[in-house]
Amino acid sequence: MITDRLARALDDRLRLSPIARRAMAKVFPDHWSFMLGELALYSFVALLLTGVYLTFFFDASNADRVYHGEYAPLEGRTTSAAYASTVRLSWDVRAGLLIRQTHHWAALVFVAAIVLHLARIFFTGAFRKPRELNFLIGVTMLTLALANGFTGYSLPDDLLSGVGLRILTSVVQSIPLVGAWLAALALGGEFPSDAMIPRMFVTHVLLVPAVLVALISLHLGILVRQKHSQFPGPGRTEHNLVGSRLWPSYTLRSLALFAWLLAVLFALGGLVQINPVWLYGPFEPAQATSPAQPDWYVAWGDGALRLFPSWEFRIAGHLVPAAFFPGVVLGGVTFLALYAWPFAERLRTGDRRQHHLLDRPRDHPVRLGVGVGALTFYAVLTVAAGDDIIARLIRVPVYDLLSLFRVLVFVLPLLAGLVAFLVARALRRGDAAGVGELTRADLRRAAHRSVRPPEADSGESETPARDRPGERIELWPEGDLWRWRYRDEDRQVVFPGSRAVRSEEEAASAARLAYPGVDRVVVPGPPPAPPPGPVRVALRRWGRAAAAGSLLLAALLDRRRDRRRQERERAEQASSPEAADRASTGGGRT
């Protein structure tokens, strides 16, 4: 009742109902992969919420500050205000560590969700006309997410992140002509400068988030205007969109996803330690941690810095340092290639049509091969960022491992890309339904280039065949309103139109747009919906109980493992000579 009154009161003043009715009837495709973008969006919301809380306690300053608080090893020591306040946040602010760790985990999930979302967009060709603009915005948001992750990671002014910042500064310095100036302008002087933390803070909490909010709004605005794309299937054409409605089902489902994400983030933030800066110690120019690994999303850059040979040269007496190629050139090429892909692909295929039906990855063997090869390349670089740890684990000299990685970084991507290409070709040409059903003959055939495959990327072939007799549009009156639905007897699908309209003509024209050329008939009324069978209901219930149980079990196990690890760490710390060394050299600030 209250909702009803409120809605009426608002509508009397703002006349929202026409917009609201269309919005509520907006259709979302039901495939899981459309949730990845939402996951990124909700991670960003989680970052905003937790981040604002952190700003109340974090002191963004390089100035000296004496720490007093619960963390005994730091008691009475002078460090930067940024470091001291981060340790305070973790040890002395109630719920501070929870929010800080949740913020960090949310950052990791945020970037992961964006990358997966990008992979989905890439492999299904969702970037094709008319969605190029949103692709460009998305790639920009990925760069901003990486930048904000890096600045956030550097804010606490601890030893691990400080060394990372020094490496990044060196990479910027390596740019020919302007590098030294760029780095000095950004930091307000030579590394480490006093302006460093305050500047990164403003960038991290205001500049980049504000740009991200603007770009997200634009991204979503364009999405609503262009509507979702969808996978091909019966009754799905270039002229329609099949799925669930925004109100009520998608609203509930999307909120459920948000709640799931928060549950996972808070579980991680509370139970799984991340970035314990009090163990690393404050940044000092003469100290380094070993081993030193960055957060996962910058590890590819770190891996590239490790693998690139010690090769540099001079141009007319000027130095182009070794860090320039893996640091600046690789990063630049990566993002330029991402930005350019939709246009490069269009140049190659000459395809200028609109596409609202997605490709299956196999439909484009070249795209699949390139994508899989690129992902493998970055994956090898990411793993290479841990070469010192791997070397210690498997007891191999680190330089042997380095040589191996230098080979793998070229060989594995080529192999993976080639395999993906061949499998896609075999799937497209043969009649195997999935990768599991491929025969050797299929693959052999795929390796020969002469056979011209049937034109697979013509989405138009999915429009309903004019002469399929089973297909029709049914319209019926419902009180003053009209509804319509699509029915395909042969394929046994029935899709009701997403909303009721006010006249038969309106219903007919919506149906004509969605299914051009399909016959329309007026029918008496809605068919009764069959209730779900008891077996399926029971099965689902058991399935869900099992899932919940295993989740609980996993959480318990994780907690136990974590507690044990912490005990071990505490024991190690007490006995490690390195820690003692650090304390003796680091404690002597004057």
């Binding site: 030294a180 100036w181 030579e190 549950a263 810095l305 029935v494 050299t585």
Partner: protein, 287 residues
């Protein structure tokens, strides 16, 4: 169905949703209680996780069971507008009196905006305060210089005998323990074993080098005394101290700069100049 009231499955779903939201409320209360009791990161996280998981389960069951799902179809107009409409819009934009037709005025406007944009770049120069040295100068200069005493991390001056034979000692210019480009290290080596003399010279085998890796500036903290090599923890460059601190493995390409030293009349170590090359990572104007 609706005539008979909710079906059995609907009732079951409703019960589960209520149970889930109940669990959620319990989680929230648990969080509040934990917090009020003095706080515990693990319990707070676990309680909030339960609270949100309860919400999620409740909402998900609700979405699946109690509201219509899937299979709706919406028409998609596409983006190929009727040609006349596009033409009309274009015609209006480029009508004879349209601003876009005034080429001369547009060029003047463009000039003004370009000048403004270029002028707006000037204040960016303030990001590097004017009283600071120019970057390429700052990168080359360090606090080291003739007569500057070497001190350890605690600020105590270093005597030659303070440098033992089997480890490295981090040294700093007096008064500059925290300066970014100044850290150096002293080691004691046997001069016979030098295959190449240290760039900064040595005092009976006592040599001082910049601590900053020439790859990307990490401190090369690990000293392997048997082979007299130092190792950078960041990307595993290693430098052979017997061969003038030349890089022998990993991505670094330039030798560590040396620091010329002498024993002063006070018995402490003094620098006799700056590093033999700019310390740390390379840049365009590196000599």
């Amino acid at each position: 169905m609706s005539a008979r009231g909710p079906s059995a499955t609907e009732r079951a779903a409703s019960r589960r949703i209520v149970a889930a939201f109940g669990a959620s409320a319990a989680g929230a209360v648990g969080f509040a209680v934990t917090y009020a009791q003095g706080g515990n990161t693990r319990w707070e996280g676990a309680c909030l996780a339960v609270a949100f998981a309860g919400l999620a389960v409740g909402l998900a069951v609700w979405a699946r069971r109690l509201v219509p799902v899937g299979g709706y179809v919406e028409e998609h107009e596409g983006f190929t507008p009727p040609p006349t409409e596009q033409a009309m819009t274009a015609a209006e934009l480029t009508a004879p009196d349209s601003p876009v037709r005034r080429r001369g005025l547009l060029a003047a406007l463009g000039l003004a905006l370009t000048a403004l944009g270029a002028a707006a770049l000037f204040p960016l120069r303030s990001l590097l305060p004017f009283d600071r040295a120019r970057p390429e100068r700052a990168l080359k200069d360090t606090p080291w210089g003739p007569g500057v005493r070497l001190v350890d991390a605690a600020g105590r001056p270093v005597r030659p005998q303070d440098v033992p034979a089997d480890s490295m000692v981090a040294v700093f210019p007096e008064g500059h323990v925290d300066t970014g480009d100044a850290p150096a290290f002293a080691v004691r080596l046997e001069p016979r074993r030098f295959s190449r003399p240290p760039a900064g010279g040595h005092l009976d085998g006592l040599v001082v080098w910049s601590l900053l890796c020439t790859h990307a500036g990490c401190p090369v903290r690990t000293y392997l005394k048997g082979t007299a090599r130092v190792l950078c923890p960041c990307h595993q460059s290693s430098f052979d101290l017997l061969a003038g601190a030349r890089p022998v493995a990993g991505p670094a390409a330039r030798a560590l700069p040396g620091l010329p030293i002498e024993e002063g009349p006070d018995g402490f170590l003094h620098a006799t100049g700056d590093f033999t090359a700019p310390p740390g990572a390379g840049f365009w104007d590196s000599p």
